[in-house]
């Protein structure tokens, strides 16, 4: 629909785009905050000696719990995180914060603060937490069919265990907030948050103020990926406490190491599964236990686990499926939202099982996967019909053909036969991703659209722009609804004093929800303009059309601005609010039944890899993607989301490895020790296509959500690596650790040594 560049593209290429920290530096009168971090994973704080810090010139304050006017407890679902803790819950947790005239001084001040602690026993791993019975939540379960009976009756039975790893968000702009007093007893918070309303509520609670005294504004975010959904609020709250204490503007920008050690990551999961299949590889039973590592506080872990339970089927129908999940509590940074929100971990288990069953039965994995795909008429394990399930099969067949899968499979077999130390592998995996917040009430959005007398249009909505192109899409929606050119519309910053009580820009829902809200507001304005256009054109209101900046009717055209002026002179309101609530969603968590999703997004990817058997080094040779975006609102932006999501998934599955040391300290604190996908990890041949004839009737202009689902396409790379490992090993299932780093691939080929190496 629109093929314009990103709405902020000019600002970005000229360096004029303002991020939070840029604004603070431009204003030039802020104090800067720096955290004093705990050196233990679990400890009681006995004493904080602020003296040495306060003695440094330029240090203005050391913020502690005593400075909090309201509540010291924050957290998105359960208020179980102390902003200034008297009991440290993870290594690196901020205990107090130093404010100084500049960042370097604040940092020096933080290093000078002395904290006395009583060290307490800590749970430093998921296994330790499970063994100790340490959990944030009671078990949640969803079941369909009689799994025990189906397993018992299955001709073939399999079992396994899989560990899914953490992932660092590594948004390039680190967490940042800038709080200014408004001079009237209120505060203006400029923040890099995906959830302005929650940041507003958090700041208000911490300051002990009603929400209307706190305005949160988001101009743009330098990458979020879920990492700024809940965890941006704490940084803003600390800055607000500092602002309340000193009366000065306060800016906080975590540097990379602080950001990595303080904030949570993608949830690691432990999955234990049993499956039953027929001789053709069709699954008849699937029984899974999932345990996610929530870290030190609950954060969003319960909802993340729920999405994992909803997606453990992958894109596959299983008549008897039972999944039970739980969130463990460890003394590690609190894990949080990350693109896919539990679904990638669950879908990885689904693919693990498909591949295991296929190789155990001596069948090609792509054949077994195809046999198990959802078909029209199928329902998920939570009872939701898989509407448009025929798209899965259509995508599968079209992609097999367009990627010349069979031909390449044969070529790879021949190539592998000719190469002893290098092997290639290929795999195709499907995606089915449910769209909507699984917490039903979050599926709402508001917007505000204004028309000025010159015909120019300004829109605001509840979503945040973090690079995903949301404002660009919304701009197109507003322009199309009002029939004006895109150059006539501007979408401006997200503000809680303009659009209240918004949901996070998360769950891939930004354009679905906010686009519908903006469209509603724009339709309302169009309705109000219609009689004035009709009067100018001399036709009936029903005969008027707005297009390309004009009102058309009775064979004539008048400029949009002229209609607006006529409406204004007739004293017509030219400001409208719009609201959207996704209809039809419901889920009964106790019963594990309902329709939590508005629709599903489908896709599939084929990946081909080459593995060096001597080192485990691997290369991604080629990728073919066919993905369902409905009728795209902005094809270039959707392509960017597909490619970017895919590569981020490749990172999670093949090179990004989060490691903690024996004290519970994060070892992989920066890009030097945490390997992110660079351009070298991306395939030279990366072919992305979107599904034709894919209108989504319920969504804005027939488009579908695009943020998270493509992340799951990267599972094809993991499965292709497994295929290459199998070429070294021969028939039978292949155990491959995740992430499939060169080291993990090496051990998958050669087998881990049974004994520990001798001590020297």
């Amino acid at each position: 629909m629109t093929d314009r560049g990103h709405a902020s593209a000019v600002a970005h290429v000229t360096g004029e785009a303002l991020f939070v920290h840029d604004q603070a530096q431009r204003d030039g009168n802020a104090l800067y905050g720096w955290p004093v971090q705990a050196a233990h994973a679990h400890a009681r704080v006995l004493h904080i000696d602020e003296g040495p810090a306060l003695a440094l010139p330029g240090v203005r304050a050391v913020l502690t719990a005593a400075d909090v006017p309201g509540t010291n407890w924050i957290g998105p679902a359960r208020h179980d995180e102390a902003l200034f803790p008297d009991e440290v819950q993870y290594h690196g947790q901020p205990v107090c914060w130093v404010l100084a005239d500049d960042e370097a001084t604040a940092r020096a001040g933080a290093a000078a603060v002395r904290i006395d602690c009583e060290v307490l026993p800590a749970l430093r791993s998921l296994d330790a937490a499970i063994a100790a019975g340490s959990f944030h939540t009671a078990p949640q379960a969803i079941a369909a069919g009689d799994v025990a009976a189906a397993l018992a009756a299955a001709p073939h039975r399999f079992a396994g265990e899989l560990r899914l790893p953490a992932q660092e968000h590594f948004y390039l702009e680190t967490q940042a907030a800038y709080v200014r007093p408004d001079g009237e007893g209120g505060y203006h918070v400029l923040a890099a948050t995906q959830h302005p309303a929650e940041t507003q509520a958090t700041v208000a609670h911490v300051l002990g103020l009603p929400a209307h005294r706190v305005t949160v504004e988001v101009v743009r975010i330098g990458g979020g990926f879920g990492g700024k959904e809940s965890q941006a609020s704490g940084v803003a709250a600390v800055a607000a406490v500092g602002c309340a204490r000193t009366g000065r503007p306060v800016a906080i920008r975590l540097d990379r190491q602080r950001d990595a050690t303080i904030t949570g990551k993608r949830h690691p999961f432990l999955a234990k599964w049993r499956a039953g299949a027929g001789p053709d590889g069709r699954l008849v039973a699937f029984d899974v236990e999932l345990c996610g590592d929530g870290g030190s506080s609950l954060d969003l872990s319960k909802a993340i686990l729920a999405r994992a339970l909803f997606h453990v089927d992958g894109a596959y129908a299983v008549p008897a499926l039972r999944v039970v999940g739980r969130v463990a509590r460890t003394n590690l940074p609190s894990n949080t939202a990350f693109r896919g929100f539990g679904a990638p971990q669950a879908a990885a288990v689904a693919e693990e099982v498909q591949d295991h069953v296929a190789r155990a039965l001596g069948l090609p994995p792509e054949t077994v996967r195809e046999r198990n795909l959802y078909r029209p008429g199928d329902r998920t394990h939570y009872g939701q019909p898989v509407r448009d399930a025929e798209r899965i099969g259509r995508i599968w067949r079209e992609l097999l053909a367009s990627s010349r899968f069979a031909e390449r499979r044969a070529a790879i077999a021949a190539w592998n036969g000719a190469h002893a130390h290098h092997k290639r592998g290929i795999a195709i995996t499907p995606v089915k991703f449910g769209i909507g917040f699984t917490t039903t009430f979050l599926n709402q959005a508001g917007a505000h659209v204004l028309v000025y007398r010159d015909g120019s249009v300004l829109g605001r909505h509840g979503g945040t722009e973090m690079g995903q192109g949301l404002h660009t899409k919304i701009l197109a929606v507003a322009a199309r609804t009002l029939g004006v050119p895109e150059s006539g519309v501007r979408i401006v910053s997200t503000r809680t004093d303009q659009v209240p009580n918004t949901s996070a820009t998360a769950a891939s829902s930004g354009s679905d929800l906010n686009g519908a809200a903006v469209a509603a507001a724009a339709r309302e304005l169009r309705q109000r303009l219609l009689p004035h256009a009709a009067a100018l054109l001399g036709c009936a209101p029903e005969a008027v059309e707005f297009a390309a900046g004009s009102a058309l009717g009775a064979g004539r055209a008048v400029p949009f601005a002229a209609v607006v002026e006529a409406a204004f002179l007739a004293r017509t309101s030219l400001a409208a609010t719009g609201f959207h609530a996704t209809p039809g969603l419901h889920f009964d968590a106790a019963a594990g039944r309902g329709e939590p999703f508005g629709y599903f997004v489908f896709g599939a990817a084929v990946s081909e890899v080459e593995v060096d058997g001597c080192t485990g080094q691997h290369r991604l040779l080629a990728v073919d993607v066919l993905h369902d975006v409905g009728d795209s609102l902005a094809p270039a932006i959707d392509r960017g989301q597909i490619e970017g999501g895919f590569v981020q998934g490749v990172g999670w599955l093949t090179c990004e490895e989060v490691r903690f040391g024996p004290a519970g300290e994060l070892l992989t604190r920066n890009a030097s020790t945490y390997k992110l996908p660079g351009i070298g990890e991306c395939p030279a041949g990366f072919r992305v296509a979107t599904l034709e004839r894919a209108t989504e009737p319920g969504a804005v202009f027939g488009s579908k959500a695009v943020g998270e689902p493509p992340f799951l396409l990267a599972l094809s790379v993991r499965e292709a690596l497994r295929d290459a490992v199998a070429a070294f090993r021969g028939p039978g299932p292949v155990a491959l650790d995740c992430p499939a780093t060169p080291e993990a691939v090496y051990w998958a080929i050669h087998g881990r040594p049974d004994a520990e190496p001798p001590a020297d």
Partner: protein
């Protein structure tokens, strides 16, 4: 702080003379002293490439360069790309817009500066050469495909 050193740096054609704390990075000098906010910092230890600027025509990490090391040098930042007189965007900037070579924009200035050096040294790079040249810049949003296309487009436009 003590021990400040007089430092003279030419940035985007303008000469700046400042008393500089010896440990101040060039990135912080540009951002804090000169208020040139287009040069971002991402990892602050030389990996991500977000802070890339040109020092005497060569790409360099401004987070790993001290401001005092740049004494007497000529620096080009993203703010110096567009035509100073007409304000017209540099073809590389326009190409990143037209070929959708950015999302959140935080890494963009670094990619632009790396590309500027690449296309000056090699006006007709192959895809492999583009990928090699950009190998030291990280982008967490795009998956890089559109960035390679942007560089390709810029190269073809610069050749005319």
């Amino acid at each position: 702080m003590t021990n400040r050193q007089r430092t003279t740096i030419l940035v985007n054609g303008t000469r700046y003379e400042r008393e500089v704390e010896p440990r101040l990075s060039l990135a912080d000098f540009l951002r804090h002293e000169l208020h040139l906010g287009g040069t971002h910092v991402g990892c602050e230890h030389g990996i991500c490439g977000v802070c890339t600027v040109l020092i005497d025509g060569r790409s360099a990490r401004s987070c790993l360069t001290l401001a005092v090391q740049a004494d007497g040098a000529e620096i080009t930042t993203v703010e110096g790309l567009r035509d100073a007189e007409t304000g017209q965007l540099h073809p590389i900037q326009q190409a990143f817009i037209d070929a959708h070579g950015l999302q959140c924009g935080f890494c963009t200035p670094g990619f632009l500066m790396t590309t500027l050096e690449l296309l000056r040294d090699n006006p007709q790079p192959s895809d492999d050469e583009i990928r090699e040249a950009l190998g030291g810049n990280l982008c967490r949003c795009t998956g890089y495909q559109s960035i390679v296309e942007s560089v390709r487009l810029a190269a073809s436009r610069l050749r005319g």
